[in-house]
Amino acid sequence: MADKPFVARGFHSKRAVSPANRLPPGQYETRDFPVLSAGPTPRASLATWDFTIRDGDGRSVRWTWDELQSLPHDTPTVDIHCVTKWSKFGTRWEGVSIDTLLDAARAGGVLGGAFILAFCDGGYTTNVPLADVTGGKAWVAFGYDGAPLPPEHGGPARLLVPHLYFWKSAKWVRGLQLLERDEPGFWEKLGYHDRGDPWREQRYQGD
């Protein structure tokens, strides 16, 4: 926040004041749910869908759709923040906590990892520090607002890491690769931030 802002001549806020401490810097509130993706929406079959957590030595644990559904569900209500500047308050999700999946993966012999690289149908990836997806902060979400998550919003399942910019909440997620060293994902290779904390306005590399 070192830059001293330049005041735009004749510019005034026209928005109602957003709830205190709820809107990160540079964001505005929207009631819509905009869709942003880099390519066509993949269509996955639940019969062949699976979710995998694997480590650097090739050990992995895998869940089918039905197996994932049989795990305990959480129903988080969270604010989300997109790097394209919109934020949406009080979004209601249903999913399985990453803690639950990681505990099972550890029990299955999957080791290590200070970072994760989420991988997805369509080839998208994103990197997140492990500490940001553990401790009740992240989910594999398959329900939105009381209904199955629509494909354009990442269905059948997406990562949900609401305290980071929303590109980290990878759509069409199929698994997590545990990494000892941080490795940039799709947008991160193209100049977006490796962590992406909206409260520190970590939009791009160097922010």
Binding site: A2, F11, T30, P40, T84, W187, D207
Partner: protein, 252 residues
């Protein structure tokens, strides 16, 4: 952080508005002199930041309309009524004013003539803007480079008056490698001979290259158009990895 320059960091800088052009009743082009512009690729965007006297700030992203070869940076902004930023950029900002920008941003929805073609561009409404940067980049390339890269644009707008860059598109379409097809979805002039409907499968089959020609495809517009067009193209056999999309949400 004060004063520190981090290599590769995108810093805010104050651009100067050196010209404005009305494109349609709802869209305006801002011609900016950006003092330390590192150059851009066709398809990239910039962030714009507006700060009010009381410290309130708003940020938005806008696609770059100018070609990488142009000396100034042009943004074309569509006015969204009752919004906060686009009416300011369309109605209040004037030549000589400063405007904070940083960029360029985005490295996926980009095209260089060296990547080759054929190039198939599909636009809805103001989604034409980043595709116009690609068309202008194509037009400024050497004739030898252009010759091997045919381009087709399919552009859907509500009415004839809503067609951004209308005259320039007509001129660009005079080049033998460039074909421009328009569809007017709401209202068309009496003598209109182009399409008059939303982009559908039949229209894509008529206008686009078949998947066997492996065109590079860029689709930009409102979400329903992008969802529909990109899904249809995949159904028509196009490799999803060659279909790149940019979706315009409400960017007030």
């Amino acid at each position: 952080m004060a004063g520190a320059t981090i290599p590769g960091r995108l810093t805010w800088q104050v651009a100067t508005v050196v010209d404005v052009r009305s494109e349609t009743p709802r869209a305006r082009t801002l011609v900016l002199d950006v003092p330390q512009w590192p150059g851009h690729r066709a398809g990239q965007h910039v962030d714009v930041r507006l700060v009010a006297e009381d410290g309130y700030q708003a940020q938005r992203s806008y696609s770059i309309a100018s070609a990488p070869e142009d000396s100034s940076v042009e943004l074309t902004v569509e006015r969204i009524d009752d919004a906060e930023v686009s009416p300011y950029l369309c109605d209040v900002l004037r030549v000589g004013d400063g405007l904070e920008v940083r960029g360029p941003i985005g490295g996926y929805f980009v095209w260089d003539i060296a990547q080759g073609g054929p190039l198939f561009l599909v636009a809805g409404g103001s989604g034409i803007v980043p595709l116009m940067a690609m068309l202008r980049h194509h037009a400024r390339a050497s004739s030898a480079a252009r010759e091997g890269v045919p381009v087709r644009l399919l552009y859907s707008a509500r009415t004839w008056d809503d067609v951004i860059y209308r005259d320039e598109l007509e001129r660009l379409a005079e080049a033998p490698q460039v074909q421009v097809s328009l569809s007017l979805t709401r209202d068309a002039p009496a003598d209109w001979r182009g399409y008059r409907r939303r982009i559908d499968r039949a229209m894509l089959e008529e206008v686009s290259w078949p998947a066997s020609e492996t065109p590079r495809v860029f689709v930009c517009g409102p979400t329903p158009l992008v969802e529909s067009v990109s899904t249809l193209l995949v159904e028509l056999g196009h490799d999803p990895a060659r279909v790149r999309t940019e979706r315009f949400g409400p960017t007030g």
